[in-house]
Amino acid sequence: MFGRRTLLATAAALALAIPMFGGLGGAKAQQPPVRIAVIGPMSGTGAFDGQLGLEGAQAMAAVINAKGGVAGGRKIELLTYDDKGSPEEGVSAAKRAMEQDNVDLIIGGWFSAVALSLKEATRDKIVTVMTSSQHPKVTEEGHKYLFRLNATSAMMSDFYSKAICERIKPKSVAFMNVNDDWGRLDLENYTKLLTNCGIEIKGHEFYNRTDTDFNTALTKLKALNPDAIYVAAINTSQGATIYRQIRQIGYRGKVIASAGNMNPKLVELSGNSLENVYSATPFTEDNGAPTMKPWLEEYRKSFKNEPSFIASLGAQAVEVLAFGVNAAGDPRAYDKIAAAMKAQPVPTVLGEVRFSDQGQATQTIHLVQVQKKQIVSVRD
């Protein structure tokens, strides 16, 4: 005698049980993804740099996922957060990522000012990879789970100042630097290094991260009559405006672009004003790294921008985290992940990268020059 109640109860029990068995059966194929927060400048004047880095990371995640993912078949999932280029927004984004969205790992730190406060929000709590920021304190005062990919200003300037002294050889230099932690430190480094090789320092100007017009500052620099103007601009749109306006105010001398800040978009936006300008960068497409080719293909297939240094840093961030998670077998085993990343050179899109005990990467740096609107490596 089956009452309606019994039938209903059986049906309910079956309904509950089927997905349970189904769940068990599909566990191998449907593992939860490894969730990585990408905290970068997605709006405001730094938005383009944020976008490039994110695209680089997405292309690399696609390459890794296509090859079967990490830690035995788990896919990488990227979650995007906007730090608007501001330290306060960066900290609140990190808190949202960790507390609300419960992410496994963090990529962030496009700008030094943001990286410096972001590292405090993630201190000893979560593995954090900083991308393009160059301020030495990011890693000098970092934490046990903190890594930074870009060469520090000091590493870049050691290499690049040699090239300026020996190859570009200006008699005197005036500096046009962004007024933030990185820009001030960059000025300090190069003032010291270029003075040592006998180049006269005529003066400097600091511009603000929100400025859109640079005529006032450049007029002052032109009046100093320097043999070369050195421009330290991270932000692509400000950089392009500065390079154009240097020529528009009638300055005819040499122009030197700061290390790490040359990209195809900058060249495109700057017109002829970047012709023959030098820079230094860890990114060249012909470096022979095994993942460079698939990454370039995936990037060009998915995005309309040209692959750039900042995009390659986004890719490298995903790669080093994937390496760490693979070695540890679990995206939450932070001690194991950090130890694995520091133990041996990690193969990446920019060649093998070594991390110091403080989590600072050592990258190979190349001298590049803009020739006929192309960025080409200068080899001795």
Partner: protein
């Protein structure tokens, strides 16, 4: 003090100031005639620059024609914004209107980011890199064009307000909207073309300034901020006030940045507002309500 550098900084300041005037004139017109504080004004500046860019690159039309097209298209968008948002809300509390304009600003700038992409773009102009040496002063043709075109546009606006039938209707509406309506002036029409004029001027500013810098979807924030500084300094609703305050702001910023500190340049505008508000709370050129 080097006279050449001083003269150059004054010239830089006058050009920047003239761009501020062009932005602020539309803002002050909308306030003077319609009593609307339009936070979305900067977005029409941004649209002006972007439409010039797209008309130039996609349709291959030359820069000056592209700029004119942008001004006309954005003027039409201004009419649409009025029809959809500002006209229906005209009887509501001014905070409602103010917040709606803020909403519109966010909608346009975020929509712009989605539609145009976050990457900076460059509005190509044949005058951008051509350097003119005027005595000891160096300016690009583009910067001379910014100044000259703004002067022509402002004279046009002045003549329009002073002598045309529409201009007189606008002034009447500014003085007393109900009185103007009673004499048979079509207030709805006045609303429409005040917005068209204001947004067209903002777009023209964007099209002219575009080739001197890089454009990206959030440049409207910068434009509306400068516009408000100028409008508050010159007196809300005063076109003459906007002219003098804009040029003054440009020159003082340039000299302040040149001789005191660049870091101080942004602060100068705000400092000037405080001084003006303490000394003349209604702005430099304000006497009574209405368009001046």
């Amino acid at each position: 003090m080097d006279v050449t550098v001083f003269a150059q900084q004054i010239a830089n300041g006058l050009v920047n100031g003239m761009a501020y005037v062009l932005i602020a004139t539309g803002l002050t017109l909308v306030f003077g005639v319609l009593r609307i504080v339009n936070f979305a004004h900067g977005e029409f500046y941004m649209l002006g620059a972007y439409i010039t860019y797209f008309v130039g690159t996609l349709l291959g039309i030359d820069y000056l024609a592209a700029a004119a097209i942008a001004a006309v298209v954005v003027a039409a968008l201004g009419i649409a914004a009025n029809k959809l948002i500002f006209w229906p809300l005209r009887r509501d509390h001014e905070f409602t209107i103010l917040l709606s304009s803020l909403g519109l600003a966010l909608l346009i700038s975020n929509g712009g980011e989605l539609l145009f992409g976050a990457d900076p773009k460059y509005v190509d102009s044949p005058f951008a890199d051509e350097v003119l040496d005027i005595g000891a002063i160096t300016l690009t043709q583009q910067r001379v064009l910014v100044f000259a075109a703004a002067v022509v546009a402002l004279i046009g606006v002045y003549l329009f307000l002073r002598y045309s039938r529409f201009g007189k209707m606008m002034r009447a509406t500014a003085q007393n909207p109900d009185g103007a309506a009673l004499t048979g002036i079509n207030i709805k029409l006045v609303h429409g073309y005040t917005f068209a004029l204001a947004c067209g001027l903002a777009a023209l500013a964007g099209a002219l300034v575009g080739p001197t810098v890089m454009i990206f979807p959030t440049i409207g924030n910068w434009a509306v901020l400068k516009g408000f500084i100028v409008v508050i300094m010159g007196g809300l609703g005063s076109v003459t006030g906007a002219l003098f305050a804009g040029l003054l702001l440009g020159v003082i910023e340039s000299l302040g940045g040149g001789y005191i500190s660049l870091g101080f340049m942004e602060a100068i505008g705000y400092a000037m507002i405080i001084v003006v508000l303490l000394w003349r709370p209604n702005g430099l050129f304000s006497t009574a309500r209405g368009l001046r």
